[in-house]
């Protein structure tokens, strides 16, 4: 079984790595390295001890967090070799534990048991967070935080932890010698933590928290080369664009809370199943679209796709991990997780946005020359595929594609990283060429990845893509006016094959265009090659149905509330992509036919039977047709590409083509001017508004205040002048008179103290005599 294989190879790699570190770090292993070994052993034992799902879940997400904190505080100065081994151990243990969960899920699938763990099921611990009074019941109800572990979680855990582990390994070689080496691993730790918790949690609020946290770690990692202007700008752009989407997400959450007063996914689903909000379809639509906004931001769907190509400023392993395999898939995961809350309108929007993104990004990818940008646009396009798949109801196909895409896209990115590393940070494909002989491992693994993404049979991408196309076709057959989705997706598949092989041909074949770089090109260290090989194996075989994975998806990774094995035609499922639409139409038709007194439930039963049958027919037809068409399209794309870019058999000159296309080429080359459009409208608008407001604030509001001050000063000036000219004049005059006479009187002041005493005595005597005279005068009178 391939999962077991993966797990074992992971373990072996881990062990090998630690042995490697212990032997090469110096003659005497430092105490901390001994500790490492002990911790590692302890962790493996822990894996066996942590039998409870909750313990496993907690360990899975908290270990990378721990590594983040350790590295941030002690990484640079206090740990040998920057503490990278801590990050390796943490993610390694997470991977072990993730595998054990996955193993249980697969085991349950094989034995036909249920696989679902949630806090309400009893064996998952829950944590009571903040509490509020529920207005419906009047009771204080805490928000319960817990885990929701089902097959989807298991597979997501495996994808995230697995690729994260491989990227860690790859980074050991790729990032060697970079400044802030240990900070880099710290950032990877916080990313792994938030992404793992994102897939584990059962609470939308926590999910939102993780959602933002992955955004931040993405910000940190894109801006890792912090002193590069473009990296800084790209990081900011990524975060802000995501924030726009998150705004919608947040509003969606407000609607959720307003209606359900809980964020527990399970409780929301239960309430929905019990008919809550059945009478407010518009609110439901808004809620769904709001939540989808988050996905649009994170999964870089049109119109918020602009950040992803710029995000390639980050280190290449980061692009592989975050911007290809895991974080950007979070949007798809979100829509999948919340599948039951969307209604028909929302699904239509989702489908069209996904389709549009798929085809738009694919066309742009043809024209790009930066190897990472091509891959970025290809990622966009594939994400569009997944979103469109969810929109058309091909739930398990979308997640299947998510998984296979994670493997082959991570592979492609790591390969491109290997190429870039080999050419000393040269990213322009026009300066590459002829590398096939120089870097054999990279060439072969990249070819594998390309074949997988192009949808060549027997490679994983073929199976998943085929399923999506089948789903789209099915939906198109049920609702013929939406058939355009299928056609667009098919076209996008062809274009994908074309531009991916363009990349291969330009990079690995032909004559080297930059001979100097070519001569110095070399394969990376083994830490870089091992992940490539592992991923290549996964890119080939993760789609093979006979290994069980395809079946697992088909039967186990299904929306909540639908019975296993009957993924897409549950009675409660939305009507858009089930034959329920058929059933209704036919039902009404039959009803009209039998309007004359026949029993009412008979035609309905008829219709149900017909729709059951019809659905199977549709499914089968769609499958076959889609498979044939997709093989055809992929082959023609590859051939066309070879004719254009493989120098040995070239018959078409791409430059001439570009000239012939003229303005169309320019349009596509400049990414449909979306960036420019935003710059001219939103950025410029914001700039104008903020400048106007700032000026308003300074001139008008503050002006009023200062004006009031000035009026006061003016009045006080006037009154001051009155004071000076009139009031003060009088005072002065009095003073002058006093002074005049004072000059005369002051001669009395001799300065001789005896004199004063005499005068005092004399005055006293005079006064007494006067008083006596007056008294006697009056009394005498």
């Amino acid at each position: 079984m391939s999962p077991t294989l993966l797990f074992l190879s992971g373990l072996i790699l881990l062990g090998a790595y630690c042995a490697y570190r212990l032997t090469t770090a110096g003659a005497k292993p430092s105490p901390s390295q001994w500790v490492t070994g002990i911790v590692l052993l302890g962790g493996l034992i822990l894996d066996n001890l942590a039998t409870g799902m909750a313990t496993k879940g907690l360990l899975i997400c908290l270990l990378p967090l721990l590594s983040f904190w350790i590295l941030m505080f002690f990484g640079r100065n206090h740990l040998p070799s920057g503490g990278d081994w801590i990050a390796m151990i943490a993610i390694g243990l997470s991977l072990c534990l993730s595998y054990s969960i996955y193993h249980q899920a697969i085991g349950a699938y094989e034995s036909g048991d249920e696989f679902f763990y949630h806090q309400s099921e009893g064996n998952i611990a829950s944590f009571e967070w903040i509490a509020f009074t529920n207005p419906d019941t009047g009771e204080r109800t805490p928000w319960k935080l817990g885990f929701w572990i089902d097959s989807l979680t298991a597979i997501m855990l495996m994808v995230v932890a697995g690729i994260s582990f491989l990227v860690h390994l790859f980074s050991l070689g790729y990032m060697k010698g970079e400044e802030n080496y240990s900070r880099y691993f710290g950032y990877l730790g916080i990313f792994s933590f938030s992404m793992l918790l994102l897939v584990l949690t059962d609470n939308l609020f926590v999910l939102y928290i993780c959602w933002e946290l992955v955004g931040v770690s993405s910000f940190l990692l894109i801006g890792f080369f912090i002193n590069k202007d473009s990296a800084a700008a790209a990081a900011k752009k990524a975060f802000l664009t995501n924030r726009v989407g998150d705004l919608g997400f947040a509003i969606g959450l407000f609607i959720v809370y307003n209606n359900f007063h809980t964020f527990s996914i399970r409780e929301i689903f239960d309430a929905l199943a019990n008919g809550a909000m059945a009478d407010s379809p518009w609110t439901l639509t808004f809620m769904g679209l709001g939540l989808f906004c988050g996905a649009v931001g994170k999964s870089a769907q049109f119109p918020l796709h602009i950040w992803l190509p710029d995000a390639m400023e980050g280190p290449t392993p980061v692009s592989a991990l975050i911007h290809a395999a895991t974080m950007v898939a979070a949007g798809v995961y979100l829509v999948a997780r919340l599948f039951p809350v969307f209604n028909d309108t929302a699904f239509l929007v989702i489908a069209y946005i996904g389709t549009f993104t798929a085809i738009m990004a694919a066309t742009i990818a043809i024209t790009q020359f930066d190897i990472k940008r091509v891959l970025a646009y290809s990622t966009l396009s594939q994400l569009g595929y997944m979103v469109a798949a969810l929109g058309v109801g091909a739930y398990s196909a979308a997640l299947f594609h998510l998984t296979t895409h994670a493997f082959f896209k991570a592979l492609l990115f790591l390969c491109s990283g290997s190429v870039i590393h080999a050419l000393h940070h040269e990213q322009d494909m026009r300066n590459m060429g002829g590398l096939a002989g120089k870097t054999k491992v990279t060439f072969i693994t990249m070819l594998v990845g390309t074949l997988a993404i192009s949808g060549v049979p027997f490679f994983s991408g073929f199976y998943s893509k085929d399923k999506i196309l089948a789903g789209a076709l099915e939906m198109g057959m049920i609702n013929p006016h939406h058939a355009i989705i299928f056609i667009a997706l098919l076209l996008a598949a062809g274009i994908t094959a074309f531009y991916m092989f363009r990349l291969i041909f330009m990079t690995f074949t032909g004559k080297p265009r930059d001979r100097h770089a070519w001569e110095h090109a070399h394969e990376g260290p083994w830490t870089m090659q091992v992940p490539l090989v592992v991923l290549a194996i996964l890119a080939i075989c993760s789609g093979w149905t006979h290994l069980g994975l395809g079946g697992f998806f088909q039967e186990r990774v299904v929306p909540w509330g639908t019975e296993a094995q009957v993924a897409t035609h549950h009675a409660d499922a939305p009507t858009l992509f089930t034959t329920a639409a058929f059933a209704q139409e036919e039902g009404t038709a039959v009803e009209e036919h039998s309007a004359h007194g026949e029993a009412h439930d008979e035609p309905v039963a008829n219709a149900a039977a017909m729709h059951e049958e019809g659905h199977h027919d549709v499914q089968h037809t769609a499958h076959v047709v889609a498979m044939i068409l997709s093989i055809l399209v992929a082959t023609s794309g590859i051939i066309l590409s070879a004719l254009t870019y493989w120098e040995r058999i070239r018959v078409i000159d791409p430059a001439k083509c570009a000239r012939a296309m003229g303005p169309v080429y320019d349009l596509v080359y400049n990414k449909y001017y979306v960036d420019e459009f935003y710059a001219r409208t939103f950025y410029r608008g914001l700039e104008i508004v903020r400048n106007v407001l700032a000026r308003f604030d300074l001139r008008i509001i503050d002006g009023i205040v200062n004006g009031a001050g000035r009026v006061t000063v003016f009045t006080s000036g006037k009154s001051g002048r009155f004071d000076l000219r009139v009031v003060d004049r009088i005072v002065d005059w009095i003073a002058e008179v006093c002074q005049h006479y004072g000059q005369r009187i002051r001669r009395v002041e001799s300065g001789v103290i005896q004199d004063y005493a005499l005068k005092v005595g004399g005055a006293f005597g005079t006064m007494v005599i006067l008083w006596m005279i007056v008294r006697s005068f009056f009394i005498g009178a």
Partner: protein, 521 residues
């Protein structure tokens, strides 16, 4: 003697002693640090035991609307008997956090003012006086006493800005002083009217006092609006906010911290403490305009912040934006929102304090705050860059840090009442992220500015003043219930009172509509 009395008067007395005693500068610094630490040490057990103590006196939920708002740690002594003025202090869930916040921020500010070199004694004496005034304002339960402390706080602030401030310090100090004094007039008038109607200044007796029953509705509204102006100036709410950027820009670092961290909270705290319980009907009338003003504050503050080139001014405008969240939370009758509002007040205190301290760090080195003049500071000062990133992310509401919890609680509550306004308000989050990141990019990222490449990283004192705040923000971000549980009974008591007022208001409005209907059938 209750701990509250001690922490109210200890700083005032210590400040007076410091002002008179001719001590050497270093002793003055250490002494004031010791005093503020002592206050913190006293306030920690008060805070710790508060939840239990309050629950013990809190009425049953069903009784909450009819019983007076409970307080704990009360001290009630007759002061001026002729006018029935009492020295009445005590705390509930609205004030205790801020008493603690004051006690918590002041030692950090003392650390941040370690470098003050001129007139050291005066500075620290005034600072301690200010701390006493602030704590007094939060604990006062007598309107007159409240007013006394409210004004007492003003004076040291005026001198601290006016003497130790930047180049335009006189302008800023006078603007601040006159603005606040202008507001105080309304407070004073309202206080007199209330006394004249009821014969008491007690904030415990005034809510629901029968003497207020016969107040005409328009008098209620006029008084409420007057009080609102008085407090809006302190918040500061649009359009009374322009003193803030000037005061912040000119004030020394520690004073900016106090200004943003605590003084701004006085406005919203006073609305919670005075306007809401005393005029519940007017509150119901005013809640929608208040929400509109709040959203204006949020969006307007954020947009203005975006246009600033002065680091400190940017932070000042961001304060305006963040206080808008508090107002929005106050304006809706929802438990989540009210708790969120109080929590946001606390968090904003911590986060903005961090931001101002960070600005101070770079200002001490570069002696300018022009955002365009920096660049790539992470490289010479990695630790500084790290703290700055933490603070900036906290300010833009990163989940896992406390600001996010309070903002989202506010919005969760607000959305239930005012859907459209809440949605517009969320724009503030986006804009907040935009200006914060843009600033971070301009100052810390990008190519290293040659001028600054030899700068020393933060020293121990600077770290000591930032680290406690960072820990607080992180811990409250992950375990917000520590704070919210303490707050919850108070908020539900207040809400119970407010709901009564709202029902009364609704009844009045329906009656008025009936009359109108009859007049114009």
């Amino acid at each position: 003697m209750s701990g509250l009395v001690i922490i109210t008067f200890l700083p005032i007395i210590a400040g007076c002693i410091l002002a008179l005693a001719p001590l050497p500068n270093d002793t003055v610094r250490k002494a004031s640090l010791a005093v503020t630490l002592a206050i913190l040490a006293i306030s920690i057990p008060l805070m710790w035991n508060f939840g239990e103590a309050y629950r013990a006196v809190s009425p049953e939920v069903s009784e909450a609307a009819n019983s007076p708002m409970p307080f704990v740690y009360e001290t009630n002594v007759k002061w001026i008997e002729t006018f029935n003025i009492n020295f009445h202090i005590g705390v509930d869930g609205l004030s205790m956090p801020f008493v603690f916040l004051t006690a918590f921020l002041c030692p950090l500010c003392i650390l941040a003012s370690w470098g003050i070199g001129e007139k050291v004694r005066g500075y620290f004496a005034l600072f301690l006086l200010l701390e006493g005034g602030m704590i007094g304002t939060f604990v006062a339960l007598d309107l007159f006493l409240f007013y006394v402390f409210w004004e007492l706080m003003l004076l040291p602030m005026y001198f601290l800005i006016g003497i130790w401030g930047g180049p335009r310090k006189e302008y800023a100090a006078i603007k601040f002083f006159l603005y606040t004094l202008f507001g105080s007039i309304f407070l004073f008038i309202a206080m007199l009217v209330l006394y004249w109607k009821t014969g008491t200044f007690s904030l415990v007796e005034l809510p629901g006092h029968e003497g207020l029953g016969d107040l005409k509705w328009w008098v209620q509204i006029a008084l409420f609006l007057g009080l609102y102006v008085a407090f809006a100036i302190k918040i500061p709410a649009f359009p009374f906010h322009t003193w803030l950027p000037d005061a912040h820009v000119e004030a020394p670092t520690a004073i900016s911290v106090i200004l943003a961290g605590i003084l701004l909270k006085m406005g919203t705290y006073a609305i919670f403490r005075i306007s809401f319980p005393i005029f519940p009907v007017a509150t119901a009338w005013f809640c929608t305009p208040l929400a509109v003003l709040a959203v204006i504050n949020i969006v307007y503050g954020a947009l203005c912040a975006m246009a600033q080139t002065d680091f400190k001014k940017l932070v000042a405008y961001s304060s305006i934006s963040h206080m808008g969240f508090v107002m929005l939370g106050m304006a809706v009758y929802k438990e989540e929102a009210m708790q969120g509002a109080v929590f946001q007040m606390f968090n904003h205190g911590c986060i903005t304090a961090m931001l101002f301290l960070l600005v101070g760090v770079i200002y001490d080195r570069a002696h300018h705050r022009d955002l365009a003049g920096f660049g790539g500071l992470v490289k010479p000062m990695p630790l500084y860059g790290g703290y700055a990133a933490f603070a900036f992310f906290a300010a833009l509401g990163l989940p896992g840090l406390s600001g996010f919890i309070s903002e989202s609680l506010v919005f969760l509550g607000a959305f239930q009442e005012q859907k459209l306004l809440a949605c517009i308000g969320t724009l503030g989050i986006l804009l907040g992220a935009a200006y914060m990141l843009w600033t971070y990019q301009r100052v810390f990222m990008g190519p290293v500015n040659e001028k600054y490449k030899d700068y020393k990283d933060m020293n121990k004192i600077e770290i000591a003043s930032l680290l406690p705040l960072a820990v607080m923000v992180l811990v409250l971000g992950i375990f917000p219930f520590i704070f919210l549980d303490m707050l919850a009974p108070t908020v539900s008591n207040l809400l119970a009172h407010l709901h009564v007022g709202r029902e009364e208001y609704e009844a009045m409005r329906t009656a008025a509509e009936q009359v109108a209907m009859n007049l114009h059938p």
